[in-house]
Amino acid sequence: MKSLVSITDFSKQDILSVLEHAANFEKDSRQRLLQGKVVATLFFEPSTRTRLSFETAINRLGGRVIGFSDANNTSMAKGETLKDTIMMVANYADLIVMRHPLEGAARYASEISRIPIINAGDGANQHPTQTLLDLYSIKKTQGKLDDLNIAMVGDLKYGRTVHSLLQAMSLFRTSFTFIAPPELAMPGEYKNLLAKKKLQYSEHLDLEGSINDADIIYMTRVQRERFLDPMEYEKVKQLYVLRNSMLSNTRPNVKILHPLPRVNEINIDVDSNPKAYYFQQAGNGVFARMAAICHLLNL
């Protein structure tokens, strides 16, 4: 029995199959593959966007949803352990989608559950369906996953979305452009992974000019709490803001992605540029999640 806890649980073959099914669901979203099935969405920590996206995916597939969106209203508030909750729900449902504030909670659940688990975020650790929707957005806009240059901008040290996307894209012939302040540079372990796979990457401090060869610009938020010195944060935060004027020399096919919510790292004057893709990207989440659910249930 397969679960999706971390993107590395999926092989290249798994990923390609999910993306193909996602495209089919986008063409025809009335495929009732989950008819007669029950999916539990266990949100031990609230997350409106992710939960609604999953529940839309389940509903469109004709499945029924049980679950909770706030652990305070459940027996967890009475002190029930994660193990007991998972063991109990596994008796009722065909698949569990869970978000939990503790890191590693989904991996543990996948070890004890007799039905598949999809991790919808375990603290700051993993959120693999975000990566699937990022990959789907890349494939959809570029028509391929090989021979692309991905520029990653902002917090490359702590940002889990960029780490998972890098791991997944390293299965393809990808080159990377890392643009970040020295304090938030891409960690060595990920650069080693690329070196091992003989994939090219370059590192830059300035955003302007570094994005001209990119096919995808993946923006992330630089968070205040990552800096010891507040002055340093104030200095850095202005440097990693994407503005419409910076896009004039970029490739015609380039698309700008962002896991959302954004704060100020993409200026609103970019929103009307056809290269902006972050809102459509979020919309792709439903198709990617429909495909991931069906893949785990062998449907």
Binding site: K83, L102, E103, D122
Partner: protein, 156 residues
């Protein structure tokens, strides 16, 4: 000199002698091997002089022999430990310990947000490096290195 040492911890006829345990970790080794529940005759010495370690501890367990995976559990706290297998007062075999590929229920995850630090879940790590002990938590995926390595108390 050798004889004087022998007298400090009495000899056993048959069993296992675990030597070259760092003095500061003797009680951790006792805990990891669950010797406090062991009914065999056990003698141990601590803060003994050692050229290698400065001061060391030694444990002698009569009529008890350990499987490799059992004794490798102490490798995290006593990487230089040597086992002497004794039969009829003679050392018939010498063994060293080796850090296994996976570490179960011995180390604590350094990540305060890891699920294993909040629920009754036995810890599990993949060993990334043996030279400078580096462990990756099987749950939260964070790295616990030598510097932040904490051995759990109350190991069963």
């Amino acid at each position: 000199m050798k004889e004087e040492k022998q007298l400090k911890v009495s000899a056993i006829k048959n069993g296992t002698v675990i030597d070259h345990i760092p003095a500061s970790n003797l009680f951790k080794v006792i805990e990891i091997l669950a010797l406090s529940h062991c009914k065999n005759q056990i003698t141990f010495g601590n803060n003994l002089e050692s050229k290698k370690l400065g001061s060391k501890a030694i444990i002698k367990i009569a009529d008890r022999f350990f499987a490799d995976d059992e004794v490798n559990r102490i490798a995290l706290v006593a990487p230089q430990a040597k086992l002497n297998i004794i039969k009829n007062y003679n050392v018939i075999e010498k063994r060293t310990v080796e850090i296994p590929d996976e570490i179960h229920s011995i180390a604590k995850c350094m990540n305060p947000m890891c699920v294993t630090n909040h629920q009754a879940i036995p810890t599990k790590f993949k060993v990334i490096s043996r030279q400078e002990v580096t462990l990756q938590c099987a749950y939260c995926e964070k790295i616990t290195d030598q510097e932040r390595l904490v051995i759990l108390s109350g190991i069963r």
